[in-house]
């Protein structure tokens, strides 16, 4: 037992690695704060564009969304980071993460928001137009608020996945939480920093998981 604690929960190593891990957590939060608005923005654009019932708008959007739902984000990231430099395009780790996560999470947010908009009955938009609102005003002030409420659990769950996704940035050497813990682990030959990083992820994300679990439970129960 003592050996286990010495190996996985070594306080001395934890104390030494703590500042580095905290710095990593800061970077993880920064990446999330950058990726979430980008993804929501792209998703909103996709969802609003898919309300245009024209096949030259609709099919490219479906193709885009399905492409990125089928494409593992890590493959995308490696392609941007290691593949594109062969064509003379070098964006650096941060640029690759921004572009890659933007493309990937945009598709997911787009799909969620589209489902939300479709869940609002057509009568709503017709009524709004009758009162003199333009199409854009009707979408913004009447449809979207209801759409977002209808898919709130999915939106939150997607956002949680985005925060977890930022751990992939460690692959392109961005000093976020996972990267820092791996560095500390290889310097100390001890897995304590990785265990600590896992605990940090858990403590930070647990409240969201609890909240989501409740919302999702209600959503599935409501489907009957």
């Amino acid at each position: 037992m003592e050996a286990v604690i010495e190996t996985f929960f070594n306080l001395e190593i934890l104390r030494a690695a703590w500042p580095v891990l905290l710095h990593g957590l800061g970077m993880t939060l920064l990446l999330s704060a950058m990726t979430i608005p980008l993804g929501v923005g792209a998703g909103l654009a996709i969802a609003l564009l898919s309300t245009i019932r024209h096949r030259w708008v609709r099919w490219p959007l479906i193709a885009y969304v399905d492409f990125f739902r089928a494409f593992p984000p890590l493959v995308l990231l490696i392609f941007l980071y290691a593949g594109l430099p062969f064509a003379g395009i070098e964006m650096g780790g941060f640029g690759c993460v921004a572009v890659g996560f933007f493309l990937n999470t945009g598709a997911y947010y787009g799909e969620v928001l589209r489902a939300g908009i479709e869940s609002v009955p057509a009568g709503q938009i017709e009524a709004a137009r009758c009162t003199g609102l333009s199409r854009m005003q009707a979408l913004t002030w009447v449809v979207l608020p209801q759409a977002i409420r209808n898919v709130l659990p999915d939106l939150l769950s997607n956002t949680l996945e985005v925060v977890k996704l930022t751990s992939l940035a460690s692959i392109v050497a961005i000093p976020e939480l996972l990267f820092q813990s791996r560095q500390a682990q290889s310097l100390t030959y001890n897995p304590t920093p990785i265990v600590a990083a896992s605990v940090i992820y858990f403590v930070v994300l647990w409240p969201f998981v609890r909240l989501l679990s409740r919302l999702e439970h209600r959503a599935i129960a409501g489907r009957r």
């Binding site: 399905d66 493959v75 392609f79 992939l168 994300l205 599935i220 009957r224």
Partner: protein, 222 residues
Amino acid sequence: MSFRDTFLNGAVMARYAPDILHGLLVTIGLAALVVVTGLAAGLGLALIRSLGIRPVNWLIIFVVDVFRALPPLVIIILIYFGLPSAGWVPSPFVSTWASLALVLMAFAEEIFWAGLTAIPAGQWEAARSTGLGFGQTLAHVVMPQALRLTIPPLTNRTIAITKGTALGSVVALSDILGAASSAMSNSFNPSPLTLGAAAYLVLFLPVVAFGRWVETRFAWKR
């Protein structure tokens, strides 16, 4: 060098195609194993939870929360780089499989459990009063209705987690991405990565299309 020679170099692709094909088989095998074990474990946990033993349920909820909160890559690295310190050295395949299966188990348990509790108590009572036992009621009355509710969210979640097999390349698994990455660094040409990307699309586009079909097929009745 032109774009074609760089990203679609036929000679390089032909040379590394067998490696990537092998990687494709690894990815398919791993994905299938993750789906089967993850869903089975998730269903098992949901059924145990339905027995209503308090301390056991708290434990299940905690385990599920842990694997929903941790990024899959963190779990893979924890298993692959952490466990050797405890004297057990898991292979890249086992590390990736165990991590993704645990994550899928957690998500599946939540969804199955929500499905089970969505069935009104009256169904249980009616079935029990016809003389069916607890297990029989669960198997023949509750589960068929619950599973139907859970299929769309479960399908989407399963697809998302299965795509995570690419994370195995981080711990030196020779899956599609692993094979493509090493071929790229050996040949100083990104064409193998293009081939690998195509392999992922061939593998997952039909699955995503299937997911879309499932969603409309089991659409919410409003």
